[in-house]
Symmetry: D2
Subunit: 277 residues, 4 copies
């Protein structure tokens, strides 16, 4: 719906709704603005919703060189700076899931004055030695050239057993669509770059600098970013709240969408400083 250029690269973003608190939703690694389609109608009724494709995602441009994901922080800043003029919005409520949560944490560290509230779902403050190897595995499999191998290695792991079985038909649709998508070399190359851009990420020692109200969300069955990582974030961001979505895997927004939406919009829409116990 809208685009701008960041360092000569096209960045695609969308704005939905024109009422209520502004809410930015940041994508996980294999997501794009299109992934939020099931939520757009609902959340744009109560909020001005902003979606962004990071570089190498969705309708934003591909980038060849190696990079770390602090570049996405600047991409986000380019979008929000532009929108601050257009929308007369000073501060944003930012929800990031997984990779998007990593960018959200870094953004809150780099641009604290832009962030009103922070919602961090299924994410981590560092790429652990373990998670590095998981990512390395995805990239090795990507090189094999099989869309199916890549699908089977990266997608089932982000869902819970319960969801996978309850929504078997939906999952078959995903498999069909994504196996074809991952069969494209350019797609796998972009995913390799995105995965690598997280490799050296570690801001665990800087979490104490985050002062805005923060909600940390984990999923009880998250096999990819285990709850120990979210607990660490909660312990280091003073005053943060921490909840778990039960029976959900890593892709919490699809597995328990009403809880996900209630937490995200509910936390974003809390007025300032109004609860005092």
């Amino acid at each position: 719906m809208a685009e701008l250029y960041f360092q000569g690269k096209k960045v695609y973003y969308e704005v939905h709704g024109d009422t209520g608190e502004t809410l930015v939703l940041l994508n996980g690694i294999m997501m794009s603005t299109a992934s939020w389609l099931p939520f757009v109608e609902c959340l744009s009724k109560t909020n001005r919703l902003i979606l962004v494709d990071f570089l190498d995602q969705g309708q934003s441009e591909r980038i060849e060189a190696g990079y770390d994901h602090s570049i996405q922080v600047e991409v986000l800043e380019a979008v929000l700076a532009e929108l601050s003029g257009k929308l007369s919005c000073e501060k944003y409520n930012i929800m990031g899931i997984s990779y998007g949560g990593e960018v959200a944490i870094q953004y809150a560290l780099a641009y604290p004055n832009r962030v009103r509230r922070l919602i961090l779902a299924n994410t981590c403050a560092r790429t652990s030695g373990w998670l590095k190897k998981i990512g390395d595995g995805w990239n090795e499999v990507a090189k094999c050239g099989s869309g199916l191998a890549y699908y089977l290695t990266t997608i089932p792991i982000i869902y819970s057993t319960r969801f996978f079985e309850e929504r078997a038909e939906w999952m078959e649709g995903r498999e069909k669509m994504l196996t074809e998508y991952f069969a494209r070399a350019d797609v796998r190359e972009a995913l390799i770059r995105l995965t690598d851009s997280s490799r050296e990420y570690d801001v665990s020692d800087r979490l104490g600098e985050i002062k805005c109200p923060t909600l940390v969300i984990s999923s009880s069955e998250d096999a990819l970013v285990p709850m120990t990582e979210q607990k660490l974030i909660h312990e280091r961001i003073k005053g943060s709240s921490y909840v778990t979505i039960n029976g959900s895997g890593h892709a919490s927004m699809y597995e328990v969408p009403e809880a996900f939406a209630a937490l995200t919009a509910g936390f974003a829409n809390l007025p300032d400083n109004c609860i005092k116990i």
Copy 2:
């Protein structure tokens, strides 16, 4: 702020705010409308908020005879029927915590057409054999006549160790105030009746009848109504979502107020049928 008469007994209630979805907050056993004071300013900005003192609570009248808490279901219906006329409101979003959640479940079973969405915090679908004995203990201690003994037996157990230590000064204030309050025989007698009114409660086999969108909230450190009870509710109300507030005891609204408010308002304010995965 307002009152009506139910079977000749005065029922006290409050309405705050005049915008957004209507949200009813139902009290735990030792709470009253006054307990929600820290939330009124905040939640009434986004919602029309309704608070009710059950019979034998707060500013509602005392009742002498033994009763079970289905009487509170009719008290609530009297209030909401009256407000339906005044506010032109057909359906209510109802949040009940602990005892209030028990009444909320029964209300949703008795008056399904009045309930838009249900939020059940730290509550259960039945008074287990174990919980009966806990309640019997409170009542035996009430008969001892010591406000301090009653305070020490009933209040610390509803907080987590973490909160108790972090908010030591606040807890001391509670101890001082509540020890005096519980020293009053009439207060203890009302609490004995309220506790007894839950004794034979069991709607666990009827949960399948609840069809409205439902959010179940538990606390990781709830020593009074353990998470096994909330899990049972979630498993039997088809399509319900289930989240846990981490690091919180039974009194989740005071321990992690922002998560509690975000979940409650966030779930109440979700538009109908708008997320489709």
Copy 3:
């Protein structure tokens, strides 16, 4: 079966079996050597079993003056020193549950050379501000003079809902027996002293000194000493192992006896330094 005198006070203890590793079982606050009767036949087949009544417990003598539970550490040392001569045993495997675990930790700090392996069940390294109030409550209720009030306040809380319901008849037997027992003023006075002896306990900063192999056991439904306390012990005793008995309350030895016995005997009977990963 055997006794000795510690500072002029009779200390009762038992030795069962004469084979295998020596295993000391230390009582929780309301237990005595008699509480281990269901385990004696079983554990004494594979181990030399030592049971001890602390002062103010079971068949050991009452003590009038206030004391903290480091006195029980010296009572234990008196017993083990005597047995070291009789049994030619240099080192003991010590399992302590709840209060017994507190004494076990202090013993391991005071007499490290006597301890071969340490098993800490449902215990803590400190009496938290919260637990102090729970204990204060027990003592206030004790002063009321009702055996039933004391039973209802102290005993149901140490069992899980599941066990309480599955073993309803057994629990009724406990209620009958213990209500009578707690009706005795001398019994309640001893329990008041025992409870108070834990009040100022805090060795959380010294846990790093413990070097012997240690197993920490928690119960998923422990409402009295929550899992956060056992996690703290595990994190501070380097190299300790940490397991949870699922579906059990505080009284894990009665709720899931085979898991309790397997863990205790299994850990005590592991040969030295023989697993190397």
Copy 4:
């Protein structure tokens, strides 16, 4: 150390120790008798230890045709029938981890009179739709021909983040060794067959038939066979005990070896029917 022929195929097994209860340890899918080396000295001091390579594992023979893992049940029966004569042993305590646990459950169903006690670690009663896809992924990657891709896809996922980081050097050794091993086509082909042999496995409806004392072990960080699967086993095997090894991933025997060994030997060595609560 010993071998026999089953349907013309060589089956390799080992017996260590000649005292105490007989304890059979059954391998996970990528393990072999050699994987238990760190435990042999320790466990054979208290138990007669039996290790077996299933067909397509370790030093047992490869089999070409497709098969399901009920064939391994008969392999195990061949070994135990032979040993029953040699060792005058009627009943065996059987511990199976992961794939080995699946075989153990099926063995207990097929040969209940041979099983004294059952220990089921990190295993499941069925291959869920989700787990099928994980296995399919491993097999697709195996076909890519890269030992490294196969290592990265199958091995890190079975360890916890904690262990992976604490034992970084050990993990590097595994990576080096296993990457070379998995580079062999014959090894990958055997692993494809073993993985496929679990594909249609489902005995979840038959668990009620198991009557021997059973201990179910899960790991808090098991990303491969989540705790929901072990909970299902526990709920359906009447009287079973259920514990969790905290801070451990799927490979619990390597991550927290003392807890694993204590649970296994401790449960196997409990005398019959001797605890009565």
